[in-house]
């Protein structure tokens, strides 16, 4: 498929995963991502691959764990409450260093919340989420095309670093339709999966584990994991910047919030306000260096989220007190409008003028 076609985000990401070589999909229905298991139930058998609707999210993530341990490309998808149930399994995947892809099409929380788009799972996604000292790579696409493009990247990153990779989108990106192109870009050179459980035919046994009982062993395992995380932080940060060179206000947003910000920034520029934006694409590793660099020259940072303020903590850590960081967010399914973000930018401009 190299032509431009109109697809909804959930189906587009599913097709992109199939093109990326997905061997098996395990999932459980939850709104607003049901188009993914529905699409997979038809397409995976057509490709001679595995689709299974599981009895729960606990089962889904553990089927991912089992298939990943045999060296297969495998993924599950869910939405916020379902991802909470998967946290035990994600911690085990991280501990056993099993490559896997987990998609969270976020909805409003906490608890059952609602089925409208939200970004309230940022902390859970970027801090580990489950028990123990671990991180997962987190990708935060902001369009259907980017959702398509990030799936092969997610699988490659998972295989390269033997790590679970989370794709963190929200109900709008999952549900909206946009024209997309499925590019078959050159792939990374990946290490062999000589650790995988394939039956010990002619070799010594392989063991996949996360239990280390010998004194100091789990500490060493954690240090090894941290060394891997530092390498990922060094090599894999992705972010986009727009008209930040001369800007006096820099707006930071990811995912669908970034699309709203882009509209607001364009309008503000038409009004003569010097404003630009930075859009993190990898939420972990976070573009700390890029934001820190920008903070040297700019006066005010503004973070916009579909939450009460989660990523804003990372922005504050990145600017390290060098510049003020303002926040505007709408939680639990509330979506800021372009006009609301524009108003916030105008207010900051007025405040600057008052200061002067």
């Amino acid at each position: 498929m190299s032509e431009r076609i109109l697809m909804c985000g959930n189906e587009a990401l599913a097709e992109s995963a199939i093109i990326a070589g997905l061997d098996a999909y395990f999932g459980y229905p939850i709104t607003p991502q049901n188009e993914i298991p529905e699409y997979m139930s038809k397409r995976m058998p057509e490709e001679g691959r595995v689709f299974l609707q599981c009895e729960s999210e606990l089962a889904s993530i553990n089927m991912v764990y089992g298939a990943a341990a045999t060296g297969k490309r495998v993924m599950t998808t869910s939405s916020s409450p379902g991802i909470s149930l998967m946290q035990e399994g994600i911690s085990y995947l991280a501990g056993a260093e099993l490559p896997s892809v987990i998609v969270n099409i976020m909805r409003g929380g906490p608890g059952l919340g609602n089925i409208a788009p939200a970004q309230g799972d940022y902390f859970q996604a970027t801090r580990g989420g489950g028990h123990g000292d671990y991180r997962t790579i987190v990708l935060g696409p902001s369009s259907v095309q980017e959702l398509v493009d990030c799936m092969p990247l997610a699988f490659d990153l998972a295989d390269q670093y033997r790590i679970p990779v989370l794709v963190l989108a929200d109900g709008i990106i999952g549900q909206m339709m946009e024209p997309v192109v499925f590019n078959k870009k050159p792939r990374r050179k990946l290490p062999p999966k000589d650790w995988a459980l394939t039956g010990a035919d002619g070799r010594e046994q392989n063991i996949v584990r996360s239990l280390w009982l010998k004194e100091g062993a789990v500490e060493q395992h954690n240090y090894d994991l941290q060394a891997k995380y530092r390498e990922i932080e060094k090599n894999e940060v992705l972010c986009e910047q727009y008209e930040v060179d001369d800007a006096e206000i820099v707006v930071i947003a990811y995912g669908i919030a970034a699309r709203i910000v882009q509209g607001a920034v364009n309008k503000a520029r038409q009004e003569g306000i010097k404003v630009g934006w930075i859009r993190p694409i990898t939420l972990w590793p976070f573009p700390t260096e890029q934001i820190s660099k920008a903070a040297k020259d700019f006066k005010i940072f503004l973070t916009i989220e579909l939450s009460c303020g989660q990523m804003v903590d990372d922005v504050k850590l990145a600017v390290a007190g060098k510049v003020p960081v303002q926040f505007y967010g709408r939680p639990g399914g509330g979506v800021p409008t372009v006009e609301q973000v524009l108003d916030k930018i105008r207010q900051l401009t007025l405040r600057q003028e008052n200061v002067i």
């Binding site: 764990y65 089992g66 056993a96």
Partner: protein, 244 residues
Amino acid sequence: MQKVFTKPQSLKDCTTHYCPGCGHGIAHRLIAETIDELGLRGRTIGIAPVGCAVLAYDYLDMDMIEVAHGRAPAVATGMKRTNPDKIIFSYQGDGDLAAIGTGEIIHAAHRGEQITVIFINNAVFGMTGGQMAPTTLLGQVTTTTPLGRDPLKQGYPLQVSELLAMLPGAIYIERCSLHKPALIRNAKKAVKHAFQLQADGAKGLSLVELLSPCPTAWRMTPTKAIEWMENEMIKIFPLGRLKG
């Protein structure tokens, strides 16, 4: 001199961490003998449970994985669905399979997953120090039933094999015991049959429940534990083939 009894190749030559009188060592040996005799080592993947047998891969010489408490049947499903040519077995205790993992074993059986489950039932949570399990007998004293299990407060012993035998997706269910040599020989036949079914591509789940002594958590001598199994445990968990 002719050698008449040797260690199976699939069993490592090492000392185990299991307590004196524990049944895990016997169960491991039955699995290792079976895999050797059926020539399956090269394509077998074993799943160790959370519990006393979490280190089973230190004793069984084959590809193995460690999984979260109770989730082994889901992990086995992920493995078998993506590797239909491999022999996948889970090794689970009663705390693992009959308590926290009840959902996973029921649904794996319900779907007819083509896996083999070795279910060790010692009527107690062994590794965590002897707390009540769903399989604990009425009146049995554990660290969380200090006055003995009372059905009105803690419910009745859960007969998992009987429950699973009702499901069409389970094709072979047998309960055996490890407390007498003759019964151990029967258990070997059952374990071998369960693996043979999978190797033959039989369409469904096979499970062998092995009643196993736990003298430490039962606060008994190994000899007394054997007597208790003979006199009490097999009354509640009768031996024999339940299905297939």
